[in-house]
Amino acid sequence: MTAVLKPTLARCLWTAPAFAALAILITVAARSIFGMSPVLQESTLLTVAYIAGGIGFIVGIGGFDYWWTWMRGGELDPNDHSQHGAHSWGDYFKFNTDHKVIGIQYIVFTFVMFLVGGMFAEVFRSELAKPGQQVLTDQQYNGLISQHGVIMIFVFMVPVFAGIGNYVIPLMIGAADMAFPRLNAVSFWLLPVAAFTLLSSFMFGSFDGGWTGYPTLSEQSGYGMTLYQLGIQLAGASSIATAVNFLVTIIAMRAPGMTLFRMPLLVWANLATSALVVAATPFIAGAQFMAMFDREMGTHFFTVAGNGDTLVYQHIFWFYSHPAVYIMILPGFGIISEVIATHARKPVFGYRAVAFSSAGIAILGFAVWAHHMFASGMEPWLRVPIMLSTLLIAIPTGIKIFSWLGTMWGGVLRMTTANLFAIGFIFTFVIGGLSGVMLAVVPFDVSITNSYFIVAHFHYVLFGGSIMTIYAGFYHWFPKVTGRMYNEILGRWHFWLTFIFSNLVFFPMHYQGLLGMPRRVADYAPEFAWSNTLISIAAFILGASTLIFVYNMIHSARHGKTGGANPWRGLTLEWMLSSPPPIFNFPTTPRVIGGPYRYGEEGAKHAIVPEVEPATVETTV
């Protein structure tokens, strides 16, 4: 009974509807007082209900309890750790301030969303298996492909890296937690709200503008489009809050001796990514605000009738969404550097160059947005500069690829599943990178735009790139998180099935695109029949292979062999703790004494964790 009053999910069951109902009441009252008609305008009510319901959910889970005390002028204890750490399974479903718990919450939640988004793909792949109409109407098809993209990008790919970073980064830099643990928890709990908002749009006629939601199509769509715009705002807010948290944590909470060039490369990658998120994400918020005002209030940002400029949406949208591509891959690059150095037993080749290339990608990432718009009718003078900057960005990416190859060169490679995924990633990512360079060339892009070649390209960089790195990271840190080893044989099955069938799914799309098969269309010309059938069959097997991974993770977390503190003999700080790490991480503040990748040096150490805290000079009054 008291569960509905304490900060739990049970409390959310009444706070969220109560807030939504209150918001609807206030809106209806305001509309009738100011004489607006109609008083019951559905899209406005839907918007306010979802915003207020989302806030109600965060209130219910306990996100505002601490700040409520602050607001009413109460006494606060900065050393209050009552919500810290998980002592039972139930604690993973509560508002928790421990970065390790939040990391697991992130990873599990986003992976469930990955499975949901993947299911959408399987459904529309079954539609595409044969020419003609099978299981879906055109409208449902458009809804499913849009949902697939948005779910995968905004509630899987961007936040899953925040989850891995959440777990690993405070450990890697020797901190007790993130800089703002409560903000960290709020940014996690915003994600279920965003996911609910996006998924519930099926009830109102799903949004069907693709994941980009361009006007003027988005201005004519049903209520689902409103929820798309809201859901992106919520996921974006979560992403910005996490990025601020990472930046402050990395800047201010490193252990003594952890200079910038002693930081592991995953920390560097997260630093660059977080800077990108902070500077770029508000632009998609701006674009969605404008599109939403046009829909809800009849403003004229993008309507040609009111002298608006439709193309500006694309400019602002891609000013976020191109950096977002790097937000979705840079942390993966960091993971690969960690995995390869640890499993090849060699120092990272060109450490500083890799660190600077992350920063270089982050800066250049802002100068390439218009390469998504070569065929949009934008200002022609913009094409060549953007083409050149796009080609330029292949250089820092190439630096990273050569660094991984150089790190492996002559190393004693341990072919664990984590390392297999890292090596497979290099293979598939290079294919995606090469087709990216092709697409940067304006004449090629103009002739191939909106075809399956584009689909092939971005699935090679996002599936063959990001998702391979995510799997590599999952396998690499699984022994640290659970204290147990995963099943290596199942892991290998998972890797080979994923690797072979993802290539079988996405490689034929290059040919389809070059032959002119348009994307985002539910039907296609008969000559594409056999290749689409092949892709669909491969996609089903690819989906099924994920189940091996899920089984492996769940089963090994309970029954796997115990792995000990450091099964990979890694040198970075997280491996110096027990597995799983103690609730407040390090018993004493670690001292960093050398670089993170001193593999192959006799007795080399990255850091020491003193047995007892060295005596500090007390200044007693």
Binding site: W70, M71, R72, G73, G74, P78, N79, H84, G85, A86, H87, I104, A175, A176, A179, F180, I240, V244, L247, V248, I251, A252, M253, R254, V278, A279, T281, P282, F283, A285, G286, F289, M290, F293, M297, G298, T299, H300, F301, T303, G306, N307, G308, D309, V312, H315, I316, F319, T482, G483, S578, S579, P580, P581, P582, I583, F584, F586, P587, T589
Partner: protein, 198 residues
């Protein structure tokens, strides 16, 4: 899933930067606020460069009366800073007083903005220029409103005696936010009101 070797919570570590983490976090957050305003300013710049700004119905926006409003907001930045100076001298009553003055100036600013909306003669639904005028000033107005709410909390905590020269990162944050809102307004006033409509 906690190990057997749990140990008690550490005290908060000393930080290597001169800034407290809250302040650093706020400044980083303000970068993203600049980007949010940047999206709307980008739209405005695009309109201005491509089509030139002609306010709907040949109406002109009242630059003269708004310059008085600008002065009011700039003044409120100073009163906000005086609150922090009084805190250093441990004058808690003066802290509340200066915060209250800041709050009142901000409220007057917001009131005059609403008045301007009523007399300006066009609406957000009149062409894209009307839209961008209302959304730019409205976005800023929303930030002023949030700033007022924060000032209210600052006053409550001043009354309950929670600010001290040693622990006042919240008050510092409120003042940084308020200065930010002020600076954005000065930029907005310059490019929207002062540049002649063409």
């Amino acid at each position: 899933m906690s190990a057997a070797t749990d140990h008690p919570a550490p005290q908060i570590q000393p930080y290597r930067t001169g800034l407290r983490p809250e302040t650093l976090g706020l400044i980083i957050f303000l970068v993203s606020e600049v980007a949010l305003f940047g999206a709307f300013f980008m739209y405005y710049a695009n309109l201005r460069i491509l089509n030139g700004i002609v306010w709907p119905g040949d109406f002109d926006i009242p630059a003269d009366s708004t310059s008085i409003n600008t002065l009011i907001l700039v003044l409120s930045s100073f009163t906000c800073e005086f609150a922090l100076l009084s805190l250093e001298r441990r004058k808690n009553g003066a802290v509340f007083g200066w915060l209250f003055a800041t709050f009142m100036l901000g409220a007057v600013f917001l009131g005059l903005q609403v008045h301007e909306y009523m007399i300006v003669g066009f609406t957000p639904q009149d062409e894209s220029t009307g839209t961008i005028f209302f959304t730019l000033t409205g976005l800023h107005g929303t930030h002023v409103f949030i700033g007022l709410v924060l000032l209210l909390f600052g006053m409550i905590r001043a009354l309950t005696g929670r600010w001290s020269p040693e622990r006042h990162s919240g008050l510092l944050g409120i003042s940084i936010y308020w200065h930010f809102v002020d600076i954005v307004w000065v930029v907005l006033f310059t490019v929207v009101y002062c540049l002649p409509s063409s």
